[in-house]
Amino acid sequence: MTINTMAKGGWHREQMSCFRKMEKVIVAMQDPDMGMKMRNQRLLITVIPHAMTGRDIIAWLIHTYSICEEEALHLSGLLVRYGYIYPLKEPRSLVLRPDESPYRFQTPYFWTSTRWPASELDYAIYLAKKNIRKQGELMEYEKTRYSLLHKRINHTWDFVVMQAREQLRASKQRRKADRIVFECQEQAYWLINRPPVCLLLLYSLLHFCTILFYIILYCTLLYYTILCNALPYYTTIETCFTVFKQALGRNRVKSSICLESFVKYSEQYQNHDPIMQGSLPSNPWISDDTAYWTMNSETVPIPTRLRVERWSFSFMELLNDDMGRREFMTYLEKEFSAENLCFWQACEDIKHGESSRIIEKVEMIYKNFLAPGAARWVNIDSKTMDKTLEGIRNPHRFIMDDAQMHIYFLMKKDSYPRYLKSDLYKNMLAKAIVPQETKKSVFPFVRRQRHANPSPAQAVAQATEEDGHAKGAGQAGTKSAAGSHV
């Protein structure tokens, strides 16, 4: 739904789908077998059949949809607000009280979706009926609307009054109980669907002839727009074809493999997800203690263990973390292959940097990395090298893409795995901090408590033994925890 589509009747479309869903719920509620138990309700001296209490409605919703009470209250509130259920005792209070208050289903004849849009003529008839029946007992807002309508559709007012009288006469011939029911239903309908005052005011400003003129103008414009719109639609269909044909030829991966990867990913990152597992020493938003952010900032001398562990998940994780990238650079320098990372960084700079400096940067890259005898010559295969050198004659933003990709995968397949096995990385991992969990004030909730427990192997064992019950905070860790600093 957008601001544009609202104008084109999109709001109607959006509301309709919501109405359909609510109607599904209502129909389920009225199912003879699985639906609600109805009772007779006494209203003053009359007995209203097929009514239900607020409490019963809530209970049924909780039972049928397996939801909590708060949600059942919320859902039933929506059903009342949109007119599918109406209260018998206080008709103007459109809320659902979870007690003995009686409610009734609105008849489909009076559903908002059935009678869309609410006709102002019908509303005028309704108000006229009310006026005749209870002389001068219209509510304030009804009086305003009544007079507005009277001005607007003055020409058909006789018809309105006549209709009102007819309907009143016909209703007198019904049984009292039926009459009361119908009055309740009608009242409930108009409480929700009465046309807003501003709309009435707006309409009354426009003269009938002006409206006619605009209608003609609109139709002509519509005719031309449809004609003109055919062409862009044609282009869209062409694009669809290209996409379809491409898609048919695509290599797909089996679902089992793809879905397995999601499970693995979520498992791997679970300990790193503060919302799932909590964070050490504490979640700053909950405890108001910003230690977590301070410990994980860019320029901290000793990183946290989780952070260093994350570098081993994927090459991208290592490069995305500035500290990880620096460490990797140090390692590469020892291996005399630092030019690879420098080259990659320079290419990134071109791809995401200012347009005006592209040419200058490309020249610099050529000079430093690609020219024969360059100070930091990178080892690219000859085919890619030729292609890149050819492209440098007309440099653009993506000219280095192939070469960059080649070097990236070189580092990923070769240097990166060796880095993870290196002493440099292992030492970093060993001296990394595992923060102690700060003592929380007692929260009455069930959540996996963070353990100050660094070893991945132990984390796996922990995950299998636990099934969601609370553990004591700050549980004593193993000997590796003893070496942690706060």
Binding site: S17, V25, Y65, A230, R250, R252, E267, M276
Partner: protein, 346 residues
Amino acid sequence: MATQEVQLNETLTHLKTESETLKSKLEDERAKLHDVELHQVAEKVEGLGQFVMKTRRTLKGHGNKVLCMDWCKDKRRIVSSSQVTHFIAAHHAVTMPCTWVMACAYAPSGCAVACGGLDNKCSVYPLSLDKNENLAAKKKSVAMHTNYLSACSFTNSDMQILTSSGDGTCALWDVESGQLLQSFHGHAADVLCLDLAPSETGNTFVSGGCDKKANVWDMRSGQCIQSFETHESDINSVRYYPSGDAFASGSDDATCRLYDLRADREVAIYSKESIIFGVSSVDFSLSGRLLFGGYNDYTINVWDVLKGTRVSILFGHENRVSTLRVSPDGTAFCTGSWDHTLRIWA
């Protein structure tokens, strides 16, 4: 004129039928490799315990409906925009000469903010620490569309912005020169949302629109690489799964769906009969295990991505939730609503 019109109509009908045939052929191809459902694979995964998340902060600075928000990379600051003229970043409130600022984004460096809306433009405002500085004066107009701006996002740097618009296109712009670098055509109606892929090669993004389609695009060539059309109504929000292999979408049909890019199909639907109103925005938790959805019935539903079940429902807002984003380090998520407030949940 009339015969031309008739001819055009005939060609259109013919094309439409051919398009339908291709589409069903594609569905068959996709189904061939679908050997298991996500919840089946997830059976062995441990279930989630009860979740308790509460509002930790309520931000009341806007006097109007909050339409959009974004986190800064420093994980603490946010920028948000509203129905009437403002965006607020940290301590700045800037008045923009248009109503309905529907999109806003923080630059990766944290030094600038981009926003736009009914003015059909996307403008970049540099931020400074000086509270009194008149930011509106330093504004730089970057993007120009022929209809309202629905979403914008910086790519990996401050220098490029990706925008989507009600005119049915997305576009990539150079901030410095305001030049259009690439445009993306293929949606048949308004494009409502977009998200950049967190992939190694960093060259794709996904967009969702009122034509019920979610399209994946190559930023370099401007081509639509993949397309998914299973929603029953407008797609209001798309977000990539953290690994970049899938993305989730939220729609007016009250469902969220997960699409796998390698299997090239929809793999999960997150819906419940008791959820009636549409989703306005979705986001994943850091590990991708949880999917948060902000709904038009003022609630937030939390879904277990793997098992497909609803973990929790959060109440608090007093009007529809219009935007939802998880913080960059995953410690909390922020929601903006038409009740004029922003809430941070943890």
